[in-house]
Assembly symmetry: C2
Homo-oligomer: 304 residues x 2
Protein backbone atom coordinates (compact mmCIF):
# COMPACT_ATOMS: atom_id res chain seq x y z
CA UNK A 1 0.00 0.00 0.00
CA UNK A 2 1.06 3.57 -0.60
CA UNK A 3 3.09 5.38 2.03
CA UNK A 4 3.57 9.14 2.01
CA UNK A 5 6.31 10.56 4.22
CA UNK A 6 7.14 14.14 5.01
CA UNK A 7 10.21 15.53 6.72
CA UNK A 8 13.57 17.03 5.95
CA UNK A 9 16.00 16.02 3.20
CA UNK A 10 19.22 17.62 4.27
CA UNK A 11 22.94 17.77 4.95
CA UNK A 12 24.50 16.89 8.30
CA UNK A 13 27.82 17.50 10.02
CA UNK A 14 28.24 14.79 12.61
CA UNK A 15 30.81 14.25 15.31
CA UNK A 16 30.74 11.14 17.49
CA UNK A 17 33.41 9.60 19.75
CA UNK A 18 34.13 7.34 16.77
CA UNK A 19 34.63 9.91 14.03
CA UNK A 20 33.60 13.03 12.24
CA UNK A 21 31.88 13.57 8.89
CA UNK A 22 30.91 16.74 7.02
CA UNK A 23 28.03 17.58 4.71
CA UNK A 24 26.80 14.00 4.57
CA UNK A 25 23.28 13.11 3.48
CA UNK A 26 20.74 13.37 6.29
CA UNK A 27 17.20 14.44 7.06
CA UNK A 28 14.25 12.65 8.65
CA UNK A 29 12.48 12.03 5.35
CA UNK A 30 15.62 10.55 3.80
CA UNK A 31 16.01 7.99 6.59
CA UNK A 32 12.27 7.25 6.73
CA UNK A 33 11.87 6.65 3.03
CA UNK A 34 15.03 4.59 2.53
CA UNK A 35 14.13 2.37 5.51
CA UNK A 36 10.55 1.97 4.23
CA UNK A 37 11.81 1.08 0.77
CA UNK A 38 12.99 -2.28 2.09
CA UNK A 39 9.31 -3.19 2.62
CA UNK A 40 7.32 -1.48 -0.11
CA UNK A 41 7.96 0.34 -3.37
CA UNK A 42 4.79 2.45 -3.32
CA UNK A 43 6.50 5.40 -1.70
CA UNK A 44 6.16 9.17 -1.96
CA UNK A 45 7.91 11.95 -0.16
CA UNK A 46 7.08 15.58 0.37
CA UNK A 47 10.06 17.75 1.23
CA UNK A 48 12.26 20.58 0.02
CA UNK A 49 15.93 20.90 -0.97
CA UNK A 50 18.20 23.52 -2.45
CA UNK A 51 20.08 23.44 -5.73
CA UNK A 52 23.09 22.17 -3.78
CA UNK A 53 21.53 18.76 -3.12
CA UNK A 54 23.35 16.17 -5.24
CA UNK A 55 21.48 14.76 -8.19
CA UNK A 56 23.09 11.37 -7.64
CA UNK A 57 21.42 11.15 -4.23
CA UNK A 58 18.01 12.04 -5.64
CA UNK A 59 18.50 9.39 -8.31
CA UNK A 60 19.39 6.90 -5.62
CA UNK A 61 16.08 7.60 -3.85
CA UNK A 62 14.20 7.17 -7.12
CA UNK A 63 16.00 3.92 -7.79
CA UNK A 64 14.69 2.67 -4.46
CA UNK A 65 11.13 3.30 -5.68
CA UNK A 66 10.62 6.64 -3.99
CA UNK A 67 8.39 9.08 -5.88
CA UNK A 68 9.94 12.56 -5.76
CA UNK A 69 7.10 14.50 -7.40
CA UNK A 70 6.47 16.18 -4.06
CA UNK A 71 10.11 17.10 -3.50
CA UNK A 72 10.47 20.82 -4.17
CA UNK A 73 13.89 21.83 -5.50
CA UNK A 74 14.75 25.51 -5.00
CA UNK A 75 17.59 25.90 -7.52
CA UNK A 76 18.93 29.15 -6.04
CA UNK A 77 18.46 27.98 -2.43
CA UNK A 78 20.50 25.91 -0.03
CA UNK A 79 19.39 22.68 1.61
CA UNK A 80 18.66 22.40 5.33
CA UNK A 81 21.97 21.87 7.13
CA UNK A 82 22.39 20.58 10.67
CA UNK A 83 25.47 19.95 12.79
CA UNK A 84 25.57 17.87 15.94
CA UNK A 85 28.04 16.36 18.35
CA UNK A 86 27.51 13.20 20.38
CA UNK A 87 29.27 12.58 23.64
CA UNK A 88 30.50 9.36 25.22
CA UNK A 89 26.95 8.50 26.05
CA UNK A 90 25.52 8.34 22.54
CA UNK A 91 22.06 9.03 23.94
CA UNK A 92 22.94 12.70 24.46
CA UNK A 93 23.88 15.17 21.75
CA UNK A 94 24.48 18.88 21.31
CA UNK A 95 23.26 20.76 18.27
CA UNK A 96 26.22 22.73 16.92
CA UNK A 97 24.28 24.69 14.31
CA UNK A 98 20.99 24.66 12.42
CA UNK A 99 20.77 26.37 9.03
CA UNK A 100 17.13 26.23 7.99
CA UNK A 101 17.82 27.61 4.49
CA UNK A 102 15.04 26.52 2.10
CA UNK A 103 13.18 24.78 4.95
CA UNK A 104 12.24 28.22 6.22
CA UNK A 105 9.82 28.60 3.31
CA UNK A 106 8.61 25.02 3.17
CA UNK A 107 4.91 25.01 2.44
CA UNK A 108 4.11 21.51 1.22
CA UNK A 109 1.72 21.25 -1.71
CA UNK A 110 0.90 17.63 -2.32
CA UNK A 111 0.70 16.39 -5.92
CA UNK A 112 -2.74 14.92 -6.71
CA UNK A 113 -1.38 11.36 -6.67
CA UNK A 114 -0.17 11.82 -3.06
CA UNK A 115 -3.56 12.80 -1.67
CA UNK A 116 -4.97 9.30 -1.51
CA UNK A 117 -1.97 7.66 0.20
CA UNK A 118 -3.11 4.94 2.59
CA UNK A 119 -0.31 5.41 5.10
CA UNK A 120 1.01 8.78 6.21
CA UNK A 121 4.25 9.32 8.08
CA UNK A 122 4.69 12.83 9.45
CA UNK A 123 8.38 13.17 10.21
CA UNK A 124 9.64 15.65 12.78
CA UNK A 125 8.79 19.20 11.55
CA UNK A 126 6.73 22.11 12.88
CA UNK A 127 3.27 20.88 13.93
CA UNK A 128 1.76 23.48 11.57
CA UNK A 129 3.38 21.90 8.53
CA UNK A 130 2.35 18.45 9.72
CA UNK A 131 -1.23 19.73 9.96
CA UNK A 132 -1.09 21.29 6.48
CA UNK A 133 -0.25 17.89 5.03
CA UNK A 134 -3.09 16.13 6.84
CA UNK A 135 -5.53 18.78 5.59
CA UNK A 136 -4.53 18.19 1.96
CA UNK A 137 -5.35 14.49 2.09
CA UNK A 138 -8.45 13.69 0.04
CA UNK A 139 -9.22 10.49 1.89
CA UNK A 140 -8.56 9.70 5.54
CA UNK A 141 -5.39 7.57 5.52
CA UNK A 142 -5.64 4.15 7.12
CA UNK A 143 -2.91 5.15 9.55
CA UNK A 144 -1.22 8.43 10.42
CA UNK A 145 1.98 8.35 12.45
CA UNK A 146 3.53 11.50 13.83
CA UNK A 147 7.05 11.97 15.08
CA UNK A 148 7.90 15.06 17.09
CA UNK A 149 10.31 16.29 19.76
CA UNK A 150 10.62 18.35 22.95
CA UNK A 151 11.55 21.47 20.90
CA UNK A 152 7.97 21.69 19.53
CA UNK A 153 6.54 21.00 22.99
CA UNK A 154 8.57 23.96 24.26
CA UNK A 155 7.58 26.48 21.59
CA UNK A 156 4.43 25.21 19.85
CA UNK A 157 2.45 23.05 22.28
CA UNK A 158 -1.00 24.35 21.20
CA UNK A 159 -0.30 23.56 17.52
CA UNK A 160 1.14 20.19 18.48
CA UNK A 161 -1.97 19.34 20.50
CA UNK A 162 -4.17 20.29 17.52
CA UNK A 163 -2.36 17.96 15.15
CA UNK A 164 -2.22 15.16 17.74
CA UNK A 165 -6.04 14.98 17.54
CA UNK A 166 -5.67 13.78 13.96
CA UNK A 167 -3.04 11.08 14.40
CA UNK A 168 -3.17 7.38 15.23
CA UNK A 169 0.41 6.74 16.33
CA UNK A 170 2.75 9.07 18.17
CA UNK A 171 6.49 8.31 18.39
CA UNK A 172 8.51 10.18 21.02
CA UNK A 173 11.11 9.36 23.65
CA UNK A 174 10.42 8.79 27.36
CA UNK A 175 11.35 12.31 28.47
CA UNK A 176 9.09 13.77 25.81
CA UNK A 177 6.20 11.52 26.84
CA UNK A 178 6.64 12.80 30.37
CA UNK A 179 6.82 16.42 29.20
CA UNK A 180 3.74 16.10 26.99
CA UNK A 181 1.62 14.33 29.62
CA UNK A 182 3.06 15.88 32.77
CA UNK A 183 3.09 12.38 34.25
CA UNK A 184 6.19 10.51 35.36
CA UNK A 185 4.78 6.99 35.13
CA UNK A 186 4.74 5.96 31.48
CA UNK A 187 1.52 4.03 32.08
CA UNK A 188 -0.18 7.22 33.26
CA UNK A 189 1.53 9.23 30.50
CA UNK A 190 0.15 6.86 27.86
CA UNK A 191 -3.38 7.09 29.28
CA UNK A 192 -3.24 10.90 29.10
CA UNK A 193 -1.77 10.91 25.59
CA UNK A 194 -4.52 8.58 24.34
CA UNK A 195 -7.00 11.28 25.40
CA UNK A 196 -5.12 13.76 23.17
CA UNK A 197 -5.80 11.68 20.04
CA UNK A 198 -3.27 8.90 19.37
CA UNK A 199 -4.40 5.30 19.82
CA UNK A 200 -0.85 4.02 19.93
CA UNK A 201 2.07 5.54 21.77
CA UNK A 202 5.54 4.38 20.81
CA UNK A 203 8.29 5.33 23.23
CA UNK A 204 11.73 5.22 21.69
CA UNK A 205 14.41 4.65 24.30
CA UNK A 206 17.56 4.34 22.19
CA UNK A 207 19.85 1.66 23.59
CA UNK A 208 17.04 0.57 25.95
CA UNK A 209 14.69 -0.39 23.13
CA UNK A 210 11.17 0.77 22.40
CA UNK A 211 7.81 0.37 24.07
CA UNK A 212 4.35 0.49 22.57
CA UNK A 213 1.26 1.37 24.56
CA UNK A 214 -2.25 0.68 23.22
CA UNK A 215 -5.35 0.70 25.38
CA UNK A 216 -4.21 -1.28 28.44
CA UNK A 217 -1.65 -3.28 26.47
CA UNK A 218 2.12 -2.87 26.50
CA UNK A 219 4.73 -4.24 24.13
CA UNK A 220 8.46 -4.11 24.76
CA UNK A 221 10.92 -4.27 21.83
CA UNK A 222 14.56 -4.75 22.83
CA UNK A 223 17.45 -2.90 21.25
CA UNK A 224 20.30 -4.95 19.91
CA UNK A 225 23.44 -4.22 21.93
CA UNK A 226 26.10 -3.48 19.35
CA UNK A 227 29.85 -3.75 19.56
CA UNK A 228 30.15 -0.37 17.93
CA UNK A 229 27.61 2.42 17.53
CA UNK A 230 29.14 4.81 15.02
CA UNK A 231 26.41 7.40 14.60
CA UNK A 232 22.93 7.45 16.18
CA UNK A 233 21.69 10.18 13.78
CA UNK A 234 18.51 9.14 12.02
CA UNK A 235 17.89 6.07 14.20
CA UNK A 236 14.44 7.32 15.24
CA UNK A 237 13.50 8.18 11.65
CA UNK A 238 14.80 4.85 10.42
CA UNK A 239 12.68 3.20 13.11
CA UNK A 240 9.62 5.07 11.81
CA UNK A 241 10.46 4.11 8.22
CA UNK A 242 10.75 0.42 9.05
CA UNK A 243 7.61 0.58 11.19
CA UNK A 244 5.45 2.29 8.54
CA UNK A 245 7.04 0.42 5.64
CA UNK A 246 6.19 -2.91 7.25
CA UNK A 247 2.58 -1.86 7.99
CA UNK A 248 2.09 -0.53 4.46
CA UNK A 249 3.46 -3.78 3.06
CA UNK A 250 1.10 -6.03 5.06
CA UNK A 251 -1.69 -3.42 4.94
CA UNK A 252 -2.96 -4.33 8.38
CA UNK A 253 -3.42 -2.12 11.39
CA UNK A 254 -4.04 -4.16 14.50
CA UNK A 255 -2.14 -4.94 17.71
CA UNK A 256 -0.31 -7.93 16.23
CA UNK A 257 0.81 -5.99 13.15
CA UNK A 258 1.84 -2.98 15.25
CA UNK A 259 4.02 -5.19 17.46
CA UNK A 260 5.75 -6.83 14.51
CA UNK A 261 6.18 -3.43 12.85
CA UNK A 262 7.85 -2.16 16.03
CA UNK A 263 10.36 -5.00 15.81
CA UNK A 264 11.05 -4.24 12.14
CA UNK A 265 11.48 -0.58 13.03
CA UNK A 266 13.93 -1.48 15.81
CA UNK A 267 15.83 -3.80 13.51
CA UNK A 268 16.19 -1.10 10.84
CA UNK A 269 17.37 1.38 13.50
CA UNK A 270 19.95 -1.14 14.72
CA UNK A 271 21.48 -1.16 11.24
CA UNK A 272 21.29 2.61 10.86
CA UNK A 273 23.61 3.30 13.81
CA UNK A 274 26.29 0.93 12.56
CA UNK A 275 27.66 3.59 10.21
CA UNK A 276 27.54 7.33 9.56
CA UNK A 277 24.72 8.94 7.58
CA UNK A 278 22.70 6.54 5.39
CA UNK A 279 25.77 4.44 4.58
CA UNK A 280 24.64 1.24 6.28
CA UNK A 281 21.09 1.54 4.96
CA UNK A 282 22.53 1.73 1.46
CA UNK A 283 24.37 -1.60 1.70
CA UNK A 284 21.66 -3.48 3.57
CA UNK A 285 20.30 -6.78 2.20
CA UNK A 286 16.79 -8.17 2.79
CA UNK A 287 18.32 -11.34 4.23
CA UNK A 288 20.20 -9.37 6.86
CA UNK A 289 16.92 -7.84 8.04
CA UNK A 290 15.21 -11.24 8.40
CA UNK A 291 18.23 -12.63 10.20
CA UNK A 292 18.24 -9.78 12.69
CA UNK A 293 14.49 -10.05 13.34
CA UNK A 294 15.20 -13.65 14.36
CA UNK A 295 17.97 -12.42 16.66
CA UNK A 296 15.48 -10.05 18.28
CA UNK A 297 13.08 -12.95 18.80
CA UNK A 298 15.81 -15.09 20.36
CA UNK A 299 16.79 -12.20 22.61
CA UNK A 300 13.42 -12.15 24.40
CA UNK A 301 12.23 -15.75 24.23
CA UNK A 302 12.11 -17.78 27.44
CA UNK A 303 10.41 -20.88 28.80
CA UNK A 304 8.08 -20.49 31.76
CA UNK B 1 18.36 -27.15 46.53
CA UNK B 2 19.98 -25.19 49.32
CA UNK B 3 20.63 -21.48 48.86
CA UNK B 4 22.91 -19.51 51.11
CA UNK B 5 22.69 -15.72 50.96
CA UNK B 6 24.85 -13.12 52.60
CA UNK B 7 24.25 -9.40 52.91
CA UNK B 8 22.82 -6.85 55.27
CA UNK B 9 19.77 -7.17 57.50
CA UNK B 10 19.02 -3.62 58.45
CA UNK B 11 16.84 -0.58 59.05
CA UNK B 12 16.12 2.02 56.37
CA UNK B 13 14.79 5.55 56.31
CA UNK B 14 13.34 6.15 52.87
CA UNK B 15 11.99 9.21 51.18
CA UNK B 16 10.48 9.05 47.70
CA UNK B 17 8.25 11.51 45.81
CA UNK B 18 5.37 9.32 47.03
CA UNK B 19 6.10 9.25 50.76
CA UNK B 20 8.47 8.87 53.64
CA UNK B 21 9.06 6.02 56.07
CA UNK B 22 11.40 5.69 59.05
CA UNK B 23 13.27 2.72 60.53
CA UNK B 24 11.56 0.22 58.28
CA UNK B 25 12.99 -3.24 57.63
CA UNK B 26 15.61 -3.30 54.91
CA UNK B 27 18.92 -4.86 53.94
CA UNK B 28 20.07 -6.78 50.88
CA UNK B 29 19.92 -10.15 52.61
CA UNK B 30 16.38 -9.50 53.83
CA UNK B 31 15.10 -8.77 50.33
CA UNK B 32 17.11 -11.62 48.76
CA UNK B 33 15.95 -14.27 51.18
CA UNK B 34 12.29 -13.26 51.26
CA UNK B 35 12.15 -13.17 47.46
CA UNK B 36 13.90 -16.56 47.24
CA UNK B 37 11.50 -18.05 49.79
CA UNK B 38 8.73 -17.96 47.16
CA UNK B 39 10.69 -20.60 45.22
CA UNK B 40 12.47 -22.79 47.78
CA UNK B 41 12.42 -23.38 51.51
CA UNK B 42 16.00 -24.63 51.81
CA UNK B 43 17.35 -21.20 52.69
CA UNK B 44 20.14 -19.95 54.93
CA UNK B 45 21.40 -16.48 55.60
CA UNK B 46 24.64 -15.16 57.01
CA UNK B 47 24.39 -11.64 58.38
CA UNK B 48 24.57 -9.56 61.53
CA UNK B 49 22.07 -7.44 63.48
CA UNK B 50 22.00 -5.56 66.76
CA UNK B 51 19.78 -6.12 69.77
CA UNK B 52 17.43 -3.49 68.36
CA UNK B 53 16.28 -5.69 65.48
CA UNK B 54 12.68 -6.78 66.15
CA UNK B 55 12.14 -10.38 67.15
CA UNK B 56 8.87 -10.45 65.22
CA UNK B 57 10.77 -9.76 62.00
CA UNK B 58 13.25 -12.54 62.68
CA UNK B 59 10.36 -14.88 63.37
CA UNK B 60 8.77 -13.83 60.11
CA UNK B 61 11.93 -14.82 58.23
CA UNK B 62 12.00 -18.18 60.00
CA UNK B 63 8.35 -18.73 59.18
CA UNK B 64 9.27 -18.31 55.52
CA UNK B 65 11.74 -21.21 55.86
CA UNK B 66 14.87 -19.12 56.28
CA UNK B 67 17.53 -20.66 58.53
CA UNK B 68 18.94 -17.97 60.83
CA UNK B 69 21.74 -20.04 62.44
CA UNK B 70 24.23 -17.83 60.63
CA UNK B 71 22.62 -14.59 61.71
CA UNK B 72 24.76 -13.09 64.43
CA UNK B 73 22.85 -11.01 66.98
CA UNK B 74 24.97 -8.49 68.92
CA UNK B 75 22.68 -7.78 71.88
CA UNK B 76 24.46 -4.58 72.93
CA UNK B 77 24.92 -3.38 69.35
CA UNK B 78 22.78 -1.50 66.85
CA UNK B 79 21.72 -2.78 63.44
CA UNK B 80 23.02 -1.29 60.19
CA UNK B 81 20.94 1.79 59.41
CA UNK B 82 20.74 3.53 56.03
CA UNK B 83 18.82 6.58 54.90
CA UNK B 84 18.16 7.53 51.30
CA UNK B 85 16.13 9.94 49.26
CA UNK B 86 14.84 9.33 45.73
CA UNK B 87 14.12 12.16 43.33
CA UNK B 88 11.49 12.47 40.61
CA UNK B 89 13.49 10.09 38.53
CA UNK B 90 13.35 7.04 40.76
CA UNK B 91 16.52 5.73 39.13
CA UNK B 92 18.63 8.27 41.05
CA UNK B 93 18.98 8.47 44.79
CA UNK B 94 21.03 10.27 47.40
CA UNK B 95 22.34 8.53 50.48
CA UNK B 96 21.37 10.71 53.46
CA UNK B 97 23.31 8.73 56.06
CA UNK B 98 24.96 5.35 56.60
CA UNK B 99 25.38 4.02 60.15
CA UNK B 100 27.42 0.85 59.86
CA UNK B 101 26.98 -0.05 63.55
CA UNK B 102 27.41 -3.83 64.05
CA UNK B 103 28.21 -4.28 60.33
CA UNK B 104 31.57 -2.68 61.04
CA UNK B 105 32.64 -5.87 62.86
CA UNK B 106 30.92 -8.34 60.57
CA UNK B 107 33.17 -11.34 60.13
CA UNK B 108 30.95 -14.12 58.87
CA UNK B 109 31.54 -17.55 60.37
CA UNK B 110 29.41 -20.06 58.55
CA UNK B 111 27.71 -22.79 60.61
CA UNK B 112 28.75 -26.29 59.44
CA UNK B 113 25.39 -26.90 57.78
CA UNK B 114 25.90 -23.83 55.56
CA UNK B 115 29.21 -24.94 54.10
CA UNK B 116 27.73 -27.37 51.61
CA UNK B 117 25.06 -25.05 50.18
CA UNK B 118 24.59 -25.69 46.46
CA UNK B 119 23.75 -22.11 45.54
CA UNK B 120 25.50 -19.08 46.96
CA UNK B 121 24.24 -15.51 46.68
CA UNK B 122 26.76 -12.88 47.72
CA UNK B 123 24.74 -9.74 48.34
CA UNK B 124 26.34 -6.30 48.10
CA UNK B 125 29.04 -6.03 50.82
CA UNK B 126 32.79 -5.43 50.88
CA UNK B 127 34.52 -7.79 48.42
CA UNK B 128 36.69 -9.02 51.33
CA UNK B 129 33.68 -10.32 53.23
CA UNK B 130 32.29 -11.88 50.05
CA UNK B 131 35.64 -13.66 49.62
CA UNK B 132 35.67 -14.84 53.23
CA UNK B 133 32.35 -16.59 52.68
CA UNK B 134 33.51 -18.31 49.50
CA UNK B 135 36.64 -19.54 51.30
CA UNK B 136 34.57 -21.17 54.05
CA UNK B 137 32.58 -23.31 51.63
CA UNK B 138 33.53 -26.96 51.93
CA UNK B 139 32.31 -27.87 48.48
CA UNK B 140 32.31 -25.70 45.38
CA UNK B 141 28.73 -24.44 45.05
CA UNK B 142 26.94 -25.22 41.80
CA UNK B 143 26.49 -21.50 41.22
CA UNK B 144 27.88 -18.38 42.88
CA UNK B 145 26.25 -15.04 42.12
CA UNK B 146 27.80 -11.80 43.26
CA UNK B 147 26.13 -8.43 43.52
CA UNK B 148 28.26 -5.32 43.93
CA UNK B 149 28.23 -1.60 43.21
CA UNK B 150 30.33 1.34 42.00
CA UNK B 151 31.32 2.18 45.60
CA UNK B 152 33.49 -0.97 45.81
CA UNK B 153 34.91 -0.31 42.35
CA UNK B 154 35.96 3.13 43.59
CA UNK B 155 37.65 2.03 46.81
CA UNK B 156 38.37 -1.72 46.58
CA UNK B 157 38.87 -2.65 42.93
CA UNK B 158 41.77 -5.10 43.57
CA UNK B 159 39.74 -7.05 46.17
CA UNK B 160 36.70 -6.99 43.91
CA UNK B 161 38.74 -8.38 41.01
CA UNK B 162 40.04 -11.16 43.26
CA UNK B 163 36.57 -12.29 44.28
CA UNK B 164 35.24 -11.94 40.70
CA UNK B 165 37.58 -14.79 39.72
CA UNK B 166 35.53 -17.11 41.94
CA UNK B 167 32.02 -16.22 40.79
CA UNK B 168 29.76 -17.47 38.01
CA UNK B 169 27.25 -14.65 37.77
CA UNK B 170 27.81 -10.94 38.29
CA UNK B 171 24.86 -8.55 38.72
CA UNK B 172 25.54 -4.84 38.28
CA UNK B 173 23.96 -1.90 36.47
CA UNK B 174 25.02 -0.52 33.09
CA UNK B 175 27.16 2.33 34.47
CA UNK B 176 28.96 -0.12 36.75
CA UNK B 177 29.59 -2.54 33.88
CA UNK B 178 31.16 0.36 31.99
CA UNK B 179 33.24 1.40 34.99
CA UNK B 180 34.45 -2.14 35.68
CA UNK B 181 35.36 -2.89 32.06
CA UNK B 182 36.35 0.58 30.90
CA UNK B 183 34.29 -0.13 27.77
CA UNK B 184 31.22 1.83 26.69
CA UNK B 185 29.65 -0.83 24.49
CA UNK B 186 27.96 -3.39 26.73
CA UNK B 187 28.93 -6.13 24.30
CA UNK B 188 32.59 -5.23 24.72
CA UNK B 189 32.11 -4.73 28.46
CA UNK B 190 30.65 -8.23 28.78
CA UNK B 191 33.54 -9.78 26.86
CA UNK B 192 36.04 -8.10 29.20
CA UNK B 193 34.12 -9.06 32.33
CA UNK B 194 34.00 -12.72 31.22
CA UNK B 195 37.79 -12.65 31.26
CA UNK B 196 37.67 -11.51 34.90
CA UNK B 197 35.82 -14.67 35.96
CA UNK B 198 32.03 -14.53 35.62
CA UNK B 199 30.38 -16.67 32.93
CA UNK B 200 27.17 -14.68 33.08
CA UNK B 201 26.80 -10.93 33.31
CA UNK B 202 23.42 -9.58 34.35
CA UNK B 203 22.92 -5.88 33.77
CA UNK B 204 20.13 -4.40 35.84
CA UNK B 205 18.66 -1.30 34.21
CA UNK B 206 15.78 -0.45 36.53
CA UNK B 207 12.77 0.73 34.56
CA UNK B 208 14.52 -0.34 31.34
CA UNK B 209 14.65 -4.01 32.35
CA UNK B 210 17.59 -6.35 32.61
CA UNK B 211 20.02 -7.92 30.17
CA UNK B 212 21.99 -11.12 30.45
CA UNK B 213 25.20 -11.76 28.56
CA UNK B 214 26.67 -15.26 28.26
CA UNK B 215 29.36 -16.18 25.73
CA UNK B 216 28.04 -14.55 22.54
CA UNK B 217 24.42 -14.75 23.66
CA UNK B 218 22.21 -11.93 24.90
CA UNK B 219 18.86 -12.05 26.67
CA UNK B 220 16.66 -9.05 27.26
CA UNK B 221 14.10 -9.07 30.11
CA UNK B 222 11.64 -6.19 30.07
CA UNK B 223 10.57 -4.26 33.12
CA UNK B 224 6.88 -3.94 33.80
CA UNK B 225 5.86 -0.29 33.52
CA UNK B 226 3.90 0.43 36.65
CA UNK B 227 1.27 3.03 37.39
CA UNK B 228 2.98 3.79 40.64
CA UNK B 229 6.49 3.04 41.85
CA UNK B 230 6.44 3.73 45.57
CA UNK B 231 9.95 2.73 46.60
CA UNK B 232 12.74 1.24 44.47
CA UNK B 233 14.81 0.22 47.54
CA UNK B 234 15.71 -3.45 47.43
CA UNK B 235 14.59 -4.00 43.83
CA UNK B 236 18.03 -5.25 42.79
CA UNK B 237 18.27 -7.57 45.80
CA UNK B 238 14.76 -8.84 45.22
CA UNK B 239 15.76 -9.51 41.62
CA UNK B 240 18.73 -11.55 42.86
CA UNK B 241 16.53 -13.42 45.32
CA UNK B 242 13.99 -14.38 42.67
CA UNK B 243 16.77 -15.28 40.24
CA UNK B 244 18.68 -17.53 42.68
CA UNK B 245 15.53 -18.90 44.31
CA UNK B 246 14.23 -20.03 40.95
CA UNK B 247 17.55 -21.65 39.97
CA UNK B 248 17.83 -23.43 43.33
CA UNK B 249 14.27 -24.71 42.96
CA UNK B 250 14.83 -26.20 39.48
CA UNK B 251 18.47 -27.05 40.29
CA UNK B 252 19.62 -26.37 36.76
CA UNK B 253 22.29 -24.02 35.54
CA UNK B 254 22.12 -23.56 31.79
CA UNK B 255 21.19 -20.78 29.38
CA UNK B 256 17.48 -21.66 29.33
CA UNK B 257 17.27 -21.78 33.14
CA UNK B 258 19.25 -18.54 33.49
CA UNK B 259 16.86 -16.75 31.12
CA UNK B 260 13.76 -17.94 32.96
CA UNK B 261 15.40 -17.09 36.30
CA UNK B 262 16.03 -13.57 34.99
CA UNK B 263 12.34 -13.19 34.24
CA UNK B 264 11.40 -14.47 37.71
CA UNK B 265 13.90 -12.04 39.22
CA UNK B 266 12.40 -9.16 37.22
CA UNK B 267 8.90 -10.17 38.22
CA UNK B 268 9.82 -10.25 41.91
CA UNK B 269 11.48 -6.82 41.58
CA UNK B 270 8.35 -5.44 39.91
CA UNK B 271 6.36 -6.38 43.03
CA UNK B 272 9.01 -5.05 45.42
CA UNK B 273 8.76 -1.47 44.15
CA UNK B 274 4.99 -1.34 44.52
CA UNK B 275 5.28 -0.56 48.23
CA UNK B 276 7.80 0.63 50.81
CA UNK B 277 10.25 -1.75 52.50
CA UNK B 278 9.34 -5.45 52.27
CA UNK B 279 5.60 -4.70 52.55
CA UNK B 280 4.59 -5.93 49.10
CA UNK B 281 6.80 -9.01 49.32
CA UNK B 282 5.02 -9.91 52.55
CA UNK B 283 1.54 -9.96 51.00
CA UNK B 284 2.53 -11.61 47.72
CA UNK B 285 0.77 -14.80 46.56
CA UNK B 286 2.30 -17.52 44.35
CA UNK B 287 -0.55 -17.04 41.85
CA UNK B 288 0.29 -13.37 41.43
CA UNK B 289 3.86 -14.30 40.48
CA UNK B 290 2.73 -16.79 37.81
CA UNK B 291 0.25 -14.26 36.45
CA UNK B 292 2.91 -11.60 36.14
CA UNK B 293 5.39 -13.95 34.45
CA UNK B 294 2.68 -14.48 31.81
CA UNK B 295 2.34 -10.71 31.47
CA UNK B 296 6.08 -10.46 30.87
CA UNK B 297 5.79 -13.11 28.17
CA UNK B 298 2.91 -11.28 26.49
CA UNK B 299 4.91 -8.05 26.63
CA UNK B 300 7.67 -9.36 24.35
CA UNK B 301 5.90 -11.89 22.10
CA UNK B 302 5.46 -11.04 18.44
CA UNK B 303 4.82 -12.84 15.16
CA UNK B 304 7.44 -12.59 12.45
Amino acid sequence: MSLLSIGTVAFDNIETPVGKVERVIGGACTYISIAASYFTKDLMISSIVGGDFPDTELKYLQKRGINLDGLEVIKEGKSFFWGGKYHDNMNKRDTLFTELNVLDDFNPKLPASYKTAKYLMLGNLTPDIQMKVIKQMKKQPKLITLDTMNFWMDIAMPSLKKVLKKVDVLTINDEEARQLSEEYSLVKAAAKIFKMGPKYLIIKKGEHGAMVFHKDKIFFAPALPLTLVKDPTGAGDTFAGGFMGYLASVNKVNWEAIKTATIYGSVMASFCVEDFSINRLKTLKKGEITKRVKEFERMVKFKM
